[in-house]
Amino acid sequence: MQLIFTPASKRARRARLAKFYANKWAYVGYKIIGLSGLFFGFYLLYIDQPSGWLVLIPGVIGGILYAWTKGDLKNESVIPIRAQELISTDDYMDFATIAKLTQNDPSAYDIYKALEKSEAHYFLQNRFLLPTEIFEEFAPKNKGSGQAVWLYAEQLRSSYELEKYSDITLLVAVLLSIPNVDLMLNNFGLDLKEMESAVPWLSDIHQKRALAKEHKFFGGIGRDWAFGYTPLLRAFGHNISAEIERYGFFSDTSHQLPMIEQMAKTLAGGNGTVTLVGESGVGKTTCVHAFADALLENPKMPSEIKHRQVVALDAPMLIANAKDPGQMEELVLRILNEAHKAKNIILFFDDAEVFFGIGSSIDLSHVLQPAIESSSLQLILAMNPGAWQQLHKSSVIGKLQPLTVSAPDKTNSIQVLRDSISVAEYKNKVLFTYQALEEAYDLGLRYVTNQAMPGAALTILEQAAVTGKEQKLITKEVVRQTVEQIYSIKLQASDQAESTELLNLEAELHKYVINQDRAVEVVSDALRRARSGVSNPNRPIGTFLFLGPTGVGKTELSKALAKVYFGSESSLVRVDMNQYVNESDLSRLLAPMHGNELGFLGQVRKTPFCVVLLDEIEKAHQSVINSFLQMLDEGMMQDSDNHNVSFRDAIVIATSNAGAGKIREFISNDEEAELTENAFVEELISSGAFAPEFINRFDEVVIFKPLDKDELTSVIDLILKDINKNLDDRKIQITLTPAAKQWLSEKGYDPKLGARPMRRMVQRHVENVVAKRLLEQTLHPGQAITLDVGDIEKSN
């Protein structure tokens, strides 16, 4: 197949004439000259002035030009392809594009230069951040290189089912014709597929612009004269159809077309009620808008429901106007009667569960039930799957026809986002890049767990528009920054300071944890993997099972990690598994709220970037342990409201002191740490303490060694550091002599309880001394004291 461009073809010449004679200003000229010529010409003739004939001449010429340009030059219909071997590209190219191309056999670079100042070029620069240098420096300049451009343009035209080539098709085709362009694009964080998507995007914008200019008819005068007045619905409802008639409907809902057809079929078929069931954000309301638009404009809609008015009930307005449930029932009953009498109303109940007493105190099911059962009214209900499940208990369920609205795939979601961002762009005077939309989709999927796509991504983009208002351009980085702010997580690539922090994490953690080198190393490694982007993003950052006797630093390490890396100790979500020993406790674990307080999953949803500490996991009931399996594997858990909670930005640490005696035995035999771990894990499984499927899901099982007396001395230092920190505002500093430390570690050493008694010991012997001296005023602010054995011995 050979493609040629013939600038001398009849169509190409017409295109060039159109540029000159059929532009906006030319039309203004034709109208002014034409109408004034005719008016003044006839006026002069009317007052017996023969010069009127001469004045009529420009009027006639204006009229002729107007008719010719409208009838001929505005007619851009394509010439069907006659022979596949030789295709003349100008036969199906936009007139505006042809008019810019004047050379015979232009090179790829010539084509780019001709389109350099086009809207399409700015579109690629702004929406995709495509640098102009790619075209300027790399577009082939040799004769014949245009051939590749025509071939790519033809491929784009057929793959996106476009009628004609436009500026954007040719520019993307020029890009595709550049050798090794994919490698160049990768350097700018772009890929070819993304660049290709510019073609349907801009074509879609042009199509919508044309659609907005088009004069539309929605049935004509007299359409609604046989239908009743609806004053109540005007007050308590929102007429979606009237809004579409006034402002138009421009959302891309092509992926929802089967759903809209099904809605029409159901309502026209006599079943009065359609129930749209789908997660929040999935587009149920948009679906109803698209349905209302189809009823007004689509000639294929069944005549029984054509031009019906879709009116959404305004629940907050109803609640505000009804003083008590009785009044509310009466009001809704009157509205239903009015809609029934009007005969052309389809009532839409968004978040319909509210009207059925699910999650609200308003239960209007006995008011709605007769209307639903008799199919006397056409109703559309929209609710989430959880509410639909709960409605199964109700007797109305049998009459409700559910239609599942599922989340669109990535391509369709991005398409919806492209349409939906215009409002945020207009409101905040910003521009979204394509990469920002993709990023919002990916991050929305991961972090916005209470909404489905495309709503989740749209929520992020709307926030990003506010965050990036100053910069005007909403890029991928602005979206990441926004998500970081909303969810308190780290997404941006680690900077120099953070890299240093990560590389020295072990040293930082050792400021809080004595010994336990291996445990410190495995958690540090996990964080480094996550922040450098090496780890699997669909699992938690790290999952660890810490085993060891009490008081060896298992919880301390978790706290230290929360403090050092996750910002503060409040990033530690601690679950005391002692409270989940019965099967019935599982429901409490999965409840997002405990009364007015956040439950475990509620806390993780609020702070996804955290350390989750499952303390004393061996105490939990087996069903509770089983509920963690998916979380350890996929980083997701589902709460009792069926909402996903992500653990993919958390470090999950389970602690257990199962077999503590055995650990001491292994350690005292001086066995190698890793060998000990393997043997110990085997023993834990064979003894039935943990199921293999649970223990094998952890990234690492780490055994915490019991602390010896020397290590306890270091623990004393840490505790002392804490005390000094508390006394910081009084400027008092306490130090202990080595003998005092020795004395404390001797006294506080208990091989079974590790460092646990030590805090009590220091409290009793050091803090008490300081407190007494402060009260006796023998110790004053700004003083530093050193306590010896004699000082602390007396304090008991």
Binding site: W53, I57, A67, D72, W225, Y229, A342
Partner: protein, 121 residues
Amino acid sequence: MAFWFCLRWWYSAGFRFAFNQIGHELHKVGKKIAIETLIKTLFAPWKQISSTGYHQTLGQKLADATVSRTIGFLIRLSVLLYAVVWSAFITLVGLVFLILWPVIPLLPLSLPVLYFMGVTL
């Protein structure tokens, strides 16, 4: 070039364009006025206004319905008549325009003749 392009179109595809324009204008009348609905509901009550109160007698209800339907009929009929008259006007003007179509390009040449002859209306 523009002159020849224009002239060639005027005496070829231009005729079809002029004819289609008349059809387009007539079609617009059908779109602007819900003719089919108006005919189907010619005797339907105006905006569904009719008595429904329990206290009203059958006679009162009947009278109410008759008034509502009569008002509806009169309004619909007048709009339908308007559509008929407007369509007839478009057809007539369109036909005149079609007949004059071939001579329109000649007018810039012939109008000066009328001027020199001193003809007025």
